[in-house]
Amino acid sequence: MEKQSHLLLWKAVFVLIIIGLGFGIYAGSKSIDYTWRWERIPQYIINTEATTVRSPFDGTATIEKGNKLVVTSDYGDDPLVIKKFDNLLVSNGDLVFEGDPLVEVENWNIGPLTWGLVMTLQLSVVSLVFAVVIGLFAGLARISTNPALRYLSVTYIELIRGTPLLVQIFIFYFFIGTVLDLDRFTAGVAALSVFTGAYIAEIVRSGIQSISPGQMEAARSLGMNYVQAMVNVILPQAFKRTLPPMAGQFINLIKDSSLVSVISITDLTKAGREVVSSTFAPFEVWFAVALMYLVLTGALSWAIQRLEKRLSASD
Protein backbone atom coordinates (compact mmCIF):
# COMPACT_ATOMS: atom_id res chain seq x y z
CA MET A 1 0.00 0.00 0.00
CA GLU A 2 2.82 2.38 0.97
CA LYS A 3 4.38 1.79 -2.44
CA GLN A 4 1.05 2.31 -4.27
CA SER A 5 0.52 5.76 -2.81
CA HIS A 6 4.09 6.74 -3.64
CA LEU A 7 3.50 5.78 -7.26
CA LEU A 8 0.35 7.87 -7.33
CA LEU A 9 2.26 10.80 -5.90
CA TRP A 10 4.88 10.63 -8.64
CA LYS A 11 2.21 10.37 -11.31
CA ALA A 12 0.67 13.53 -9.91
CA VAL A 13 4.10 15.18 -10.07
CA PHE A 14 4.32 14.24 -13.75
CA VAL A 15 0.92 15.78 -14.50
CA LEU A 16 1.87 18.95 -12.60
CA ILE A 17 5.11 19.30 -14.56
CA ILE A 18 3.24 18.89 -17.86
CA ILE A 19 0.66 21.49 -16.82
CA GLY A 20 3.48 23.79 -15.71
CA LEU A 21 5.22 23.42 -19.08
CA GLY A 22 1.97 24.05 -20.92
CA PHE A 23 1.38 27.19 -18.89
CA GLY A 24 4.94 28.32 -19.51
CA ILE A 25 4.44 28.01 -23.27
CA TYR A 26 1.13 29.82 -23.03
CA ALA A 27 2.62 32.65 -20.95
CA GLY A 28 5.51 32.85 -23.38
CA SER A 29 3.16 33.14 -26.32
CA LYS A 30 1.33 35.99 -24.60
CA SER A 31 4.47 37.91 -23.70
CA ILE A 32 5.63 38.31 -27.30
CA ASP A 33 4.20 40.72 -29.79
CA TYR A 34 2.44 38.17 -31.97
CA THR A 35 -1.16 37.76 -32.97
CA TRP A 36 -2.14 34.14 -32.96
CA ARG A 37 -4.41 33.20 -35.83
CA TRP A 38 -5.10 29.53 -35.40
CA GLU A 39 -8.27 29.86 -37.43
CA ARG A 40 -6.18 30.27 -40.56
CA ILE A 41 -4.63 26.85 -40.32
CA PRO A 42 -7.45 24.30 -40.84
CA GLN A 43 -8.16 25.40 -44.42
CA TYR A 44 -4.61 24.39 -45.35
CA ILE A 45 -5.27 20.91 -44.02
CA ILE A 46 -8.80 20.33 -45.26
CA ASN A 47 -10.52 22.99 -47.35
CA THR A 48 -14.28 22.91 -46.76
CA GLU A 49 -15.02 26.09 -48.65
CA ALA A 50 -18.06 25.65 -50.89
CA THR A 51 -17.49 25.77 -54.62
CA THR A 52 -19.97 27.55 -56.82
CA VAL A 53 -21.24 25.98 -60.01
CA ARG A 54 -21.90 28.55 -62.71
CA SER A 55 -24.04 28.30 -65.77
CA PRO A 56 -22.07 27.47 -68.93
CA PHE A 57 -24.63 29.08 -71.24
CA ASP A 58 -27.73 31.30 -71.36
CA GLY A 59 -30.99 29.46 -70.62
CA THR A 60 -33.82 28.69 -68.25
CA ALA A 61 -33.54 26.96 -64.89
CA THR A 62 -36.20 24.47 -63.87
CA ILE A 63 -36.35 22.56 -60.65
CA GLU A 64 -37.78 19.11 -61.11
CA LYS A 65 -39.05 16.86 -58.40
CA GLY A 66 -36.45 15.11 -56.30
CA ASN A 67 -34.47 18.34 -56.10
CA LYS A 68 -32.94 18.19 -59.53
CA LEU A 69 -31.88 21.37 -61.28
CA VAL A 70 -32.10 21.38 -65.06
CA VAL A 71 -30.86 24.30 -67.14
CA THR A 72 -32.15 24.27 -70.70
CA SER A 73 -30.02 26.13 -73.17
CA ASP A 74 -31.34 28.88 -75.40
CA TYR A 75 -29.03 27.77 -78.19
CA GLY A 76 -29.78 24.07 -78.31
CA ASP A 77 -26.85 22.83 -76.22
CA ASP A 78 -27.37 19.68 -74.17
CA PRO A 79 -29.25 20.63 -70.99
CA LEU A 80 -27.21 20.86 -67.79
CA VAL A 81 -28.48 18.55 -65.03
CA ILE A 82 -27.29 18.97 -61.44
CA LYS A 83 -28.53 16.31 -59.07
CA LYS A 84 -26.53 17.01 -55.91
CA PHE A 85 -25.97 20.39 -54.32
CA ASP A 86 -26.10 22.04 -50.92
CA ASN A 87 -27.39 25.57 -51.62
CA LEU A 88 -29.70 26.49 -54.45
CA LEU A 89 -29.06 30.02 -55.76
CA VAL A 90 -31.79 30.17 -58.44
CA SER A 91 -35.59 29.66 -58.38
CA ASN A 92 -37.82 27.65 -60.65
CA GLY A 93 -38.26 29.31 -64.01
CA ASP A 94 -35.39 31.82 -63.61
CA LEU A 95 -33.63 33.02 -66.67
CA VAL A 96 -29.92 32.47 -66.28
CA PHE A 97 -27.04 33.81 -68.28
CA GLU A 98 -23.62 32.41 -68.90
CA GLY A 99 -21.52 32.71 -65.72
CA ASP A 100 -24.47 33.07 -63.34
CA PRO A 101 -24.09 31.14 -60.07
CA LEU A 102 -26.51 28.22 -59.96
CA VAL A 103 -25.74 26.15 -56.88
CA GLU A 104 -23.10 25.78 -54.17
CA VAL A 105 -21.55 22.42 -53.54
CA GLU A 106 -19.77 21.82 -50.23
CA ASN A 107 -16.93 19.47 -50.93
CA TRP A 108 -13.88 18.64 -48.96
CA ASN A 109 -10.68 19.53 -50.70
CA ILE A 110 -7.36 18.38 -49.44
CA GLY A 111 -5.23 21.32 -48.42
CA PRO A 112 -1.55 21.82 -49.21
CA LEU A 113 -0.38 20.62 -45.79
CA THR A 114 -2.22 17.33 -46.28
CA TRP A 115 -0.71 16.98 -49.75
CA GLY A 116 2.66 17.48 -48.09
CA LEU A 117 1.82 14.81 -45.55
CA VAL A 118 0.87 12.40 -48.36
CA MET A 119 4.15 13.14 -50.15
CA THR A 120 6.11 12.57 -46.93
CA LEU A 121 4.26 9.30 -46.44
CA GLN A 122 5.00 8.17 -50.01
CA LEU A 123 8.66 9.11 -49.71
CA SER A 124 8.97 7.31 -46.38
CA VAL A 125 7.19 4.12 -47.40
CA VAL A 126 9.04 3.71 -50.70
CA SER A 127 12.39 4.53 -49.08
CA LEU A 128 11.65 2.19 -46.20
CA VAL A 129 11.10 -0.79 -48.51
CA PHE A 130 14.36 -0.14 -50.39
CA ALA A 131 16.24 0.64 -47.17
CA VAL A 132 15.21 -2.68 -45.62
CA VAL A 133 16.30 -4.61 -48.72
CA ILE A 134 19.63 -2.73 -48.92
CA GLY A 135 20.15 -3.05 -45.17
CA LEU A 136 19.41 -6.76 -45.13
CA PHE A 137 21.91 -7.57 -47.87
CA ALA A 138 24.56 -5.16 -46.56
CA GLY A 139 24.12 -6.62 -43.07
CA LEU A 140 24.51 -10.17 -44.36
CA ALA A 141 27.54 -9.13 -46.43
CA ARG A 142 29.01 -7.48 -43.32
CA ILE A 143 29.20 -10.87 -41.54
CA SER A 144 30.10 -12.88 -44.64
CA THR A 145 33.30 -14.90 -44.67
CA ASN A 146 34.02 -13.58 -48.17
CA PRO A 147 36.42 -10.62 -47.76
CA ALA A 148 35.21 -8.84 -50.93
CA LEU A 149 31.62 -8.75 -49.68
CA ARG A 150 32.69 -7.84 -46.15
CA TYR A 151 34.94 -4.94 -47.18
CA LEU A 152 32.35 -3.63 -49.65
CA SER A 153 29.77 -3.58 -46.92
CA VAL A 154 32.08 -1.91 -44.40
CA THR A 155 33.05 0.73 -46.96
CA TYR A 156 29.42 1.44 -47.77
CA ILE A 157 28.40 1.71 -44.12
CA GLU A 158 31.34 3.93 -43.15
CA LEU A 159 30.95 6.24 -46.16
CA ILE A 160 27.26 6.76 -45.53
CA ARG A 161 27.44 7.08 -41.77
CA GLY A 162 30.37 9.44 -42.02
CA THR A 163 28.68 12.07 -44.18
CA PRO A 164 25.62 14.23 -43.47
CA LEU A 165 22.34 13.24 -45.09
CA LEU A 166 21.86 16.77 -46.42
CA VAL A 167 25.13 16.51 -48.34
CA GLN A 168 24.16 13.06 -49.63
CA ILE A 169 20.83 14.40 -50.89
CA PHE A 170 22.65 17.14 -52.82
CA ILE A 171 25.09 14.60 -54.27
CA PHE A 172 22.27 12.24 -55.24
CA TYR A 173 20.25 15.00 -56.87
CA PHE A 174 22.91 17.11 -58.52
CA PHE A 175 25.58 14.55 -59.38
CA ILE A 176 24.06 11.07 -59.55
CA GLY A 177 20.72 12.53 -60.62
CA THR A 178 22.39 14.27 -63.53
CA VAL A 179 24.47 11.25 -64.56
CA LEU A 180 21.53 8.83 -64.44
CA ASP A 181 18.87 11.38 -65.34
CA LEU A 182 16.78 10.90 -62.18
CA ASP A 183 13.74 12.98 -61.28
CA ARG A 184 13.48 14.67 -57.89
CA PHE A 185 11.37 12.01 -56.26
CA THR A 186 13.64 9.16 -57.38
CA ALA A 187 16.74 11.04 -56.27
CA GLY A 188 15.14 11.76 -52.90
CA VAL A 189 14.07 8.15 -52.40
CA ALA A 190 17.52 6.91 -53.45
CA ALA A 191 19.29 9.21 -51.00
CA LEU A 192 16.96 8.32 -48.13
CA SER A 193 17.09 4.57 -48.73
CA VAL A 194 20.85 4.41 -49.18
CA PHE A 195 21.29 6.48 -46.01
CA THR A 196 18.85 4.48 -43.88
CA GLY A 197 20.09 1.19 -45.38
CA ALA A 198 23.52 1.73 -43.81
CA TYR A 199 22.00 2.03 -40.35
CA ILE A 200 19.66 -0.92 -40.92
CA ALA A 201 22.67 -2.99 -42.04
CA GLU A 202 24.28 -2.47 -38.64
CA ILE A 203 21.02 -3.35 -36.87
CA VAL A 204 20.70 -6.51 -38.99
CA ARG A 205 24.31 -7.45 -38.26
CA SER A 206 23.94 -7.04 -34.51
CA GLY A 207 20.61 -8.86 -34.60
CA ILE A 208 22.08 -11.87 -36.38
CA GLN A 209 25.15 -11.92 -34.16
CA SER A 210 22.95 -11.87 -31.06
CA ILE A 211 21.45 -15.24 -32.02
CA SER A 212 23.42 -18.06 -30.39
CA PRO A 213 25.70 -19.96 -32.82
CA GLY A 214 23.98 -23.15 -31.62
CA GLN A 215 20.91 -22.14 -33.63
CA MET A 216 22.87 -22.12 -36.87
CA GLU A 217 24.59 -25.41 -35.91
CA ALA A 218 21.25 -27.06 -35.12
CA ALA A 219 19.77 -25.89 -38.42
CA ARG A 220 22.81 -27.02 -40.42
CA SER A 221 22.95 -30.37 -38.60
CA LEU A 222 19.39 -30.98 -39.85
CA GLY A 223 20.60 -30.71 -43.43
CA MET A 224 19.60 -27.12 -44.14
CA ASN A 225 21.97 -25.12 -46.29
CA TYR A 226 23.17 -21.66 -45.24
CA VAL A 227 20.33 -19.80 -46.95
CA GLN A 228 17.62 -22.11 -45.62
CA ALA A 229 19.04 -21.82 -42.10
CA MET A 230 19.16 -18.02 -42.37
CA VAL A 231 15.66 -17.68 -43.76
CA ASN A 232 13.90 -20.22 -41.55
CA VAL A 233 15.83 -20.06 -38.29
CA ILE A 234 18.15 -17.09 -37.82
CA LEU A 235 16.36 -14.18 -39.49
CA PRO A 236 12.93 -14.74 -37.89
CA GLN A 237 14.56 -14.63 -34.46
CA ALA A 238 16.80 -11.70 -35.36
CA PHE A 239 13.78 -9.85 -36.79
CA LYS A 240 11.99 -10.06 -33.47
CA ARG A 241 15.03 -8.89 -31.54
CA THR A 242 15.75 -5.98 -33.84
CA LEU A 243 12.21 -4.61 -33.89
CA PRO A 244 12.81 -1.91 -31.23
CA PRO A 245 15.93 -0.44 -32.91
CA MET A 246 14.26 -0.85 -36.33
CA ALA A 247 11.27 1.15 -35.09
CA GLY A 248 13.64 3.91 -34.05
CA GLN A 249 15.30 3.84 -37.46
CA PHE A 250 11.96 3.94 -39.31
CA ILE A 251 10.89 6.93 -37.24
CA ASN A 252 14.20 8.60 -38.07
CA LEU A 253 13.51 7.94 -41.74
CA ILE A 254 10.16 9.75 -41.57
CA LYS A 255 11.81 12.70 -39.87
CA ASP A 256 14.84 12.70 -42.17
CA SER A 257 12.53 12.80 -45.18
CA SER A 258 11.96 16.47 -44.29
CA LEU A 259 15.45 17.17 -45.65
CA VAL A 260 14.45 16.34 -49.24
CA SER A 261 12.55 19.63 -49.32
CA VAL A 262 15.92 21.15 -50.26
CA ILE A 263 15.63 19.58 -53.70
CA SER A 264 12.14 21.05 -54.12
CA ILE A 265 10.07 18.01 -53.31
CA THR A 266 6.87 19.35 -51.79
CA ASP A 267 6.82 17.23 -48.68
CA LEU A 268 5.24 18.25 -45.40
CA THR A 269 8.12 20.57 -44.49
CA LYS A 270 8.19 22.36 -47.83
CA ALA A 271 4.39 22.61 -47.80
CA GLY A 272 4.71 24.17 -44.36
CA ARG A 273 7.17 26.74 -45.69
CA GLU A 274 4.82 27.60 -48.54
CA VAL A 275 1.85 27.95 -46.23
CA VAL A 276 3.89 30.23 -43.95
CA SER A 277 4.59 32.56 -46.85
CA SER A 278 0.90 32.82 -47.70
CA THR A 279 -0.51 33.07 -44.16
CA PHE A 280 2.23 34.96 -42.34
CA ALA A 281 1.46 32.72 -39.41
CA PRO A 282 4.76 30.85 -38.97
CA PHE A 283 4.27 29.76 -35.36
CA GLU A 284 0.90 28.16 -35.94
CA VAL A 285 2.01 26.48 -39.15
CA TRP A 286 5.14 24.94 -37.66
CA PHE A 287 3.23 23.69 -34.64
CA ALA A 288 0.67 22.14 -37.01
CA VAL A 289 3.44 20.59 -39.11
CA ALA A 290 5.09 19.14 -36.00
CA LEU A 291 1.77 17.66 -34.94
CA MET A 292 1.30 16.06 -38.35
CA TYR A 293 4.76 14.47 -38.17
CA LEU A 294 3.84 13.23 -34.71
CA VAL A 295 0.72 11.58 -36.08
CA LEU A 296 2.84 9.65 -38.62
CA THR A 297 5.58 8.60 -36.22
CA GLY A 298 3.09 7.86 -33.45
CA ALA A 299 1.04 5.59 -35.70
CA LEU A 300 4.20 3.77 -36.79
CA SER A 301 5.47 3.20 -33.29
CA TRP A 302 2.03 2.02 -32.19
CA ALA A 303 1.91 -0.46 -35.08
CA ILE A 304 5.36 -1.81 -34.23
CA GLN A 305 4.45 -2.21 -30.58
CA ARG A 306 1.42 -4.23 -31.65
CA LEU A 307 3.64 -6.41 -33.81
CA GLU A 308 6.10 -6.91 -30.93
CA LYS A 309 3.28 -8.02 -28.69
CA ARG A 310 2.06 -10.52 -31.27
CA LEU A 311 5.55 -11.94 -31.77
CA SER A 312 6.08 -12.35 -28.04
CA ALA A 313 3.79 -15.40 -28.08
CA SER A 314 6.86 -17.68 -28.06
CA ASP A 315 8.49 -15.98 -25.05
Partner: protein, 248 residues
Protein backbone atom coordinates in the same frame (compact mmCIF):
# COMPACT_ATOMS: atom_id res chain seq x y z
CA UNK B 1 39.13 -57.97 -41.78
CA UNK B 2 37.37 -56.93 -44.99
CA UNK B 3 34.05 -57.87 -43.40
CA UNK B 4 34.81 -55.52 -40.58
CA UNK B 5 35.09 -52.48 -42.85
CA UNK B 6 32.02 -53.50 -44.84
CA UNK B 7 29.91 -53.31 -41.76
CA UNK B 8 31.30 -49.95 -40.65
CA UNK B 9 28.92 -47.08 -41.19
CA UNK B 10 31.41 -44.57 -39.79
CA UNK B 11 35.10 -44.78 -40.64
CA UNK B 12 37.26 -42.10 -39.08
CA UNK B 13 40.94 -42.51 -39.87
CA UNK B 14 43.90 -40.57 -38.47
CA UNK B 15 41.91 -37.45 -37.65
CA UNK B 16 43.97 -34.39 -36.82
CA UNK B 17 42.44 -31.12 -35.73
CA UNK B 18 44.62 -28.08 -35.17
CA UNK B 19 42.90 -24.77 -34.51
CA UNK B 20 44.30 -21.58 -36.09
CA UNK B 21 45.52 -20.55 -32.64
CA UNK B 22 47.71 -23.66 -32.55
CA UNK B 23 45.58 -25.69 -30.16
CA UNK B 24 45.98 -29.35 -31.08
CA UNK B 25 42.47 -30.68 -30.37
CA UNK B 26 42.60 -34.11 -32.02
CA UNK B 27 45.71 -36.23 -32.40
CA UNK B 28 45.59 -39.13 -34.82
CA UNK B 29 42.13 -40.33 -33.79
CA UNK B 30 40.79 -43.39 -35.62
CA UNK B 31 37.48 -45.06 -34.92
CA UNK B 32 35.25 -47.41 -36.90
CA UNK B 33 31.62 -47.74 -35.90
CA UNK B 34 29.36 -50.50 -37.14
CA UNK B 35 25.78 -50.28 -38.23
CA UNK B 36 23.47 -50.51 -35.19
CA UNK B 37 26.30 -50.06 -32.73
CA UNK B 38 26.08 -47.78 -29.69
CA UNK B 39 29.43 -46.17 -28.90
CA UNK B 40 29.88 -44.04 -25.81
CA UNK B 41 32.79 -41.62 -25.64
CA UNK B 42 33.93 -40.49 -22.22
CA UNK B 43 36.82 -38.39 -21.05
CA UNK B 44 37.68 -35.25 -19.06
CA UNK B 45 36.55 -31.88 -20.38
CA UNK B 46 38.89 -30.54 -23.01
CA UNK B 47 39.80 -34.06 -24.09
CA UNK B 48 38.47 -33.46 -27.62
CA UNK B 49 35.53 -35.84 -27.37
CA UNK B 50 32.94 -33.24 -28.40
CA UNK B 51 35.24 -31.94 -31.12
CA UNK B 52 35.60 -35.46 -32.49
CA UNK B 53 31.83 -35.98 -32.43
CA UNK B 54 31.31 -32.70 -34.27
CA UNK B 55 33.75 -33.68 -37.00
CA UNK B 56 31.44 -36.59 -37.86
CA UNK B 57 28.87 -34.20 -39.37
CA UNK B 58 31.46 -31.57 -40.25
CA UNK B 59 30.25 -28.92 -37.83
CA UNK B 60 33.97 -29.03 -37.15
CA UNK B 61 36.33 -29.34 -40.12
CA UNK B 62 39.41 -31.51 -39.80
CA UNK B 63 43.02 -30.63 -40.53
CA UNK B 64 44.05 -34.07 -41.69
CA UNK B 65 42.74 -37.61 -42.01
CA UNK B 66 39.63 -39.07 -43.64
CA UNK B 67 36.06 -39.64 -42.55
CA UNK B 68 33.60 -41.85 -44.41
CA UNK B 69 29.93 -41.92 -43.48
CA UNK B 70 28.13 -44.79 -45.19
CA UNK B 71 30.96 -44.90 -47.76
CA UNK B 72 30.71 -41.20 -48.57
CA UNK B 73 33.93 -39.27 -47.96
CA UNK B 74 33.37 -36.10 -45.96
CA UNK B 75 36.71 -34.64 -47.01
CA UNK B 76 35.95 -34.99 -50.72
CA UNK B 77 35.19 -31.56 -52.15
CA UNK B 78 32.48 -33.04 -54.37
CA UNK B 79 30.49 -34.33 -51.40
CA UNK B 80 27.37 -32.30 -50.62
CA UNK B 81 27.68 -32.02 -46.87
CA UNK B 82 23.99 -31.10 -46.50
CA UNK B 83 23.04 -34.51 -47.95
CA UNK B 84 25.31 -36.25 -45.44
CA UNK B 85 23.85 -34.23 -42.57
CA UNK B 86 20.35 -35.40 -43.49
CA UNK B 87 21.59 -38.90 -42.63
CA UNK B 88 23.33 -37.89 -39.41
CA UNK B 89 21.11 -36.51 -36.65
CA UNK B 90 22.62 -34.50 -33.84
CA UNK B 91 21.47 -33.68 -30.31
CA UNK B 92 23.21 -30.86 -28.48
CA UNK B 93 24.02 -30.22 -24.85
CA UNK B 94 22.09 -26.94 -24.89
CA UNK B 95 19.12 -28.38 -26.89
CA UNK B 96 19.26 -25.55 -29.47
CA UNK B 97 15.55 -25.76 -30.15
CA UNK B 98 14.23 -23.01 -32.42
CA UNK B 99 12.54 -20.68 -29.91
CA UNK B 100 10.20 -19.12 -32.47
CA UNK B 101 8.63 -22.47 -33.35
CA UNK B 102 6.38 -24.75 -31.32
CA UNK B 103 7.54 -28.26 -30.42
CA UNK B 104 5.76 -29.57 -33.50
CA UNK B 105 7.08 -26.70 -35.60
CA UNK B 106 10.62 -27.60 -34.55
CA UNK B 107 10.16 -31.22 -35.53
CA UNK B 108 8.42 -30.51 -38.85
CA UNK B 109 10.61 -27.62 -40.06
CA UNK B 110 13.44 -29.53 -41.66
CA UNK B 111 11.32 -32.22 -43.34
CA UNK B 112 9.27 -29.41 -44.91
CA UNK B 113 12.17 -27.19 -45.96
CA UNK B 114 14.85 -29.74 -46.78
CA UNK B 115 12.95 -32.85 -47.79
CA UNK B 116 10.15 -30.77 -49.32
CA UNK B 117 7.47 -32.86 -47.65
CA UNK B 118 3.94 -31.44 -47.66
CA UNK B 119 3.19 -29.71 -44.35
CA UNK B 120 0.38 -32.12 -43.44
CA UNK B 121 2.60 -35.16 -43.94
CA UNK B 122 5.51 -33.63 -42.02
CA UNK B 123 3.25 -32.62 -39.15
CA UNK B 124 1.62 -36.04 -39.01
CA UNK B 125 5.05 -37.67 -38.76
CA UNK B 126 6.07 -35.04 -36.24
CA UNK B 127 3.09 -35.84 -34.02
CA UNK B 128 3.99 -39.52 -34.06
CA UNK B 129 7.62 -38.79 -33.17
CA UNK B 130 6.59 -36.49 -30.33
CA UNK B 131 4.24 -39.19 -29.08
CA UNK B 132 7.14 -41.63 -29.20
CA UNK B 133 9.27 -39.39 -26.93
CA UNK B 134 6.30 -38.92 -24.59
CA UNK B 135 5.30 -35.38 -25.53
CA UNK B 136 1.90 -35.94 -27.13
CA UNK B 137 0.41 -33.33 -24.82
CA UNK B 138 3.05 -30.68 -25.46
CA UNK B 139 3.10 -30.42 -29.24
CA UNK B 140 1.89 -26.84 -29.45
CA UNK B 141 4.07 -25.46 -26.66
CA UNK B 142 6.94 -23.14 -27.42
CA UNK B 143 10.36 -24.27 -26.11
CA UNK B 144 10.32 -21.57 -23.42
CA UNK B 145 7.27 -23.29 -21.93
CA UNK B 146 8.95 -26.71 -21.73
CA UNK B 147 11.28 -28.11 -19.07
CA UNK B 148 14.87 -28.95 -19.98
CA UNK B 149 14.09 -32.66 -20.20
CA UNK B 150 11.10 -32.00 -22.44
CA UNK B 151 13.14 -29.68 -24.64
CA UNK B 152 15.84 -32.29 -25.07
CA UNK B 153 13.25 -34.91 -26.01
CA UNK B 154 11.82 -32.52 -28.62
CA UNK B 155 15.38 -32.07 -29.91
CA UNK B 156 15.73 -35.85 -30.26
CA UNK B 157 12.40 -36.04 -32.11
CA UNK B 158 13.52 -33.17 -34.34
CA UNK B 159 16.67 -35.05 -35.32
CA UNK B 160 14.71 -38.28 -35.87
CA UNK B 161 12.28 -36.49 -38.18
CA UNK B 162 14.93 -36.55 -40.91
CA UNK B 163 15.09 -40.38 -40.65
CA UNK B 164 18.83 -40.39 -39.99
CA UNK B 165 20.96 -43.53 -40.14
CA UNK B 166 23.18 -42.28 -37.35
CA UNK B 167 22.48 -40.22 -34.23
CA UNK B 168 25.17 -38.14 -32.54
CA UNK B 169 24.61 -37.05 -28.93
CA UNK B 170 26.83 -34.29 -27.54
CA UNK B 171 26.49 -34.48 -23.74
CA UNK B 172 22.69 -34.61 -24.02
CA UNK B 173 22.07 -34.67 -20.26
CA UNK B 174 24.79 -32.32 -18.99
CA UNK B 175 22.59 -29.21 -19.01
CA UNK B 176 19.68 -30.94 -17.29
CA UNK B 177 18.53 -30.88 -13.70
CA UNK B 178 19.24 -34.30 -12.15
CA UNK B 179 15.58 -35.31 -11.97
CA UNK B 180 15.21 -34.88 -15.75
CA UNK B 181 18.21 -36.94 -16.80
CA UNK B 182 16.28 -40.18 -16.58
CA UNK B 183 13.54 -39.26 -19.06
CA UNK B 184 16.09 -38.33 -21.73
CA UNK B 185 18.20 -41.45 -21.15
CA UNK B 186 15.05 -43.58 -21.43
CA UNK B 187 14.33 -42.17 -24.87
CA UNK B 188 17.93 -42.84 -25.89
CA UNK B 189 17.73 -46.41 -24.59
CA UNK B 190 14.59 -47.14 -26.58
CA UNK B 191 16.29 -45.66 -29.63
CA UNK B 192 19.27 -47.98 -29.08
CA UNK B 193 17.00 -51.00 -28.76
CA UNK B 194 15.37 -50.02 -32.09
CA UNK B 195 18.80 -50.61 -33.64
CA UNK B 196 19.86 -47.00 -34.25
CA UNK B 197 23.58 -46.39 -34.73
CA UNK B 198 24.50 -43.99 -31.94
CA UNK B 199 27.63 -42.10 -30.90
CA UNK B 200 27.18 -40.59 -27.46
CA UNK B 201 29.48 -38.22 -25.62
CA UNK B 202 28.38 -38.33 -22.00
CA UNK B 203 29.36 -38.41 -18.34
CA UNK B 204 26.59 -40.90 -17.56
CA UNK B 205 28.62 -43.98 -16.66
CA UNK B 206 25.45 -45.92 -15.90
CA UNK B 207 24.23 -45.38 -19.45
CA UNK B 208 27.61 -46.45 -20.82
CA UNK B 209 27.61 -49.62 -18.74
CA UNK B 210 24.03 -50.51 -19.57
CA UNK B 211 23.49 -49.51 -23.21
CA UNK B 212 26.87 -49.15 -24.93
CA UNK B 213 28.31 -51.83 -27.18
CA UNK B 214 31.67 -50.11 -26.90
CA UNK B 215 33.10 -47.43 -24.65
CA UNK B 216 35.86 -45.11 -25.83
CA UNK B 217 38.09 -43.10 -23.53
CA UNK B 218 39.67 -39.89 -24.83
CA UNK B 219 42.17 -37.63 -23.13
CA UNK B 220 44.17 -34.64 -24.40
CA UNK B 221 42.98 -35.13 -27.97
CA UNK B 222 43.98 -38.78 -28.10
CA UNK B 223 41.83 -41.85 -28.26
CA UNK B 224 43.39 -43.70 -25.36
CA UNK B 225 41.34 -46.80 -25.00
CA UNK B 226 38.28 -48.58 -26.42
CA UNK B 227 36.60 -51.70 -25.05
CA UNK B 228 33.30 -53.40 -24.40
CA UNK B 229 31.67 -51.96 -21.25
CA UNK B 230 32.46 -54.97 -19.02
CA UNK B 231 36.14 -54.93 -19.90
CA UNK B 232 36.25 -51.13 -20.01
CA UNK B 233 35.10 -50.56 -16.45
CA UNK B 234 37.27 -53.35 -15.07
CA UNK B 235 40.37 -52.20 -16.95
CA UNK B 236 43.48 -51.23 -15.06
CA UNK B 237 44.69 -48.68 -17.64
CA UNK B 238 46.27 -46.01 -15.38
CA UNK B 239 44.96 -42.97 -17.32
CA UNK B 240 41.45 -44.41 -17.33
CA UNK B 241 41.71 -45.33 -13.64
CA UNK B 242 42.74 -41.77 -12.79
CA UNK B 243 39.74 -40.35 -14.71
CA UNK B 244 37.22 -42.81 -13.30
CA UNK B 245 38.58 -42.08 -9.84
CA UNK B 246 37.75 -38.43 -10.35
CA UNK B 247 34.20 -38.83 -11.68
CA UNK B 248 32.85 -41.79 -9.72
Amino acid sequence: MTNMTDKSIIQARNIEKIYPNGCHALKNVSLDINRGEVVVIIGPSGSGKSTFLRTLNQLETISDGTIHIDEVSLTDRKTNINKVREEVGMVFQSFNLFPHKTALGNVALSPIKVKKKPRTVAEQEGRELLKKVGLAERMNNYPSHLSGGQQQRVAIARALAMHPKIMLFDEPTSALDPEMVGEVLDVMKSLASDGMTMVVVTHEMGFAREVADRVVFMEEGELVFEESPERFFSSDNPRLQRFLGQVL
